[in-house]
Homo-oligomer: 105 residues x 2
Amino acid sequence: MKIETAVVALAALAQETRLSIFRLLVQAGKEGVAAGGLGEELGIPPATLSFHLKALSHAGLVKSRTEGRFVIYSANYAEMDKLIAYLTEHCCAGDAGQCAPVRKC
Amino acid sequence: MKIETAVVALAALAQETRLSIFRLLVQAGKEGVAAGGLGEELGIPPATLSFHLKALSHAGLVKSRTEGRFVIYSANYAEMDKLIAYLTEHCCAGDAGQCAPVRKC
DNA sequence: TTAACATTTCTATAATATTGGAAATGTAGA
DNA sequence: TCTACATTTCCAATATTATAGAAATGTTAA
């Protein structure tokens, strides 16, 4: 991942409304949630929601598919994986292991 | 970590100049680098550098100590660890394991 | 004390992001 | 086709962020 890509992804998540949307989508799993569902759940007006979904989408962090009148959004786990890998590799090295997430192996 | 804290940390890293500063500090290790050294390395004028260091500092991602006339900045690995843990926990769950950084255990 | 230097604060300007109402677009069912 | 509904685009107002010169602050060494 290039630094520009990382910056775009970080910027997409660096906003409370968008981070909330993304968290909700992560929780929802790969089934996803319709735009309207997100708006209702989080109390965001349609235009504002659409604006934020565009940012997340542009960053590649969410995918969308159309089902009839609904647009279903879902988290793109693969892209999030890449972002975390980037942060772990470039922003935690130097003193290796220091920032590795705790895992029971 | 609260969502507000995560947003502040993400916002601190969601800017190319600041992400570059942080990467450089991570590489530099716990010894750290003087503000002037960062400015010279990255070609950033003092006032601009100071502005960005303040943002990183406010997010808790960097620490600083004064040595004579120099202010030495260093990465706060612990805070970065917390951020990665937050992202892994809240933004990669739902379909557990999907986003876990690849590690050989 | 005085001069040199490192860094921050002050300040103004420019650029970018956020918000949400209203209108436009597209789809489904009557 | 006509109507209802979901979502997006358009637009304008507002807020926040980034940039960097100049001045201020603090520190060291002569």
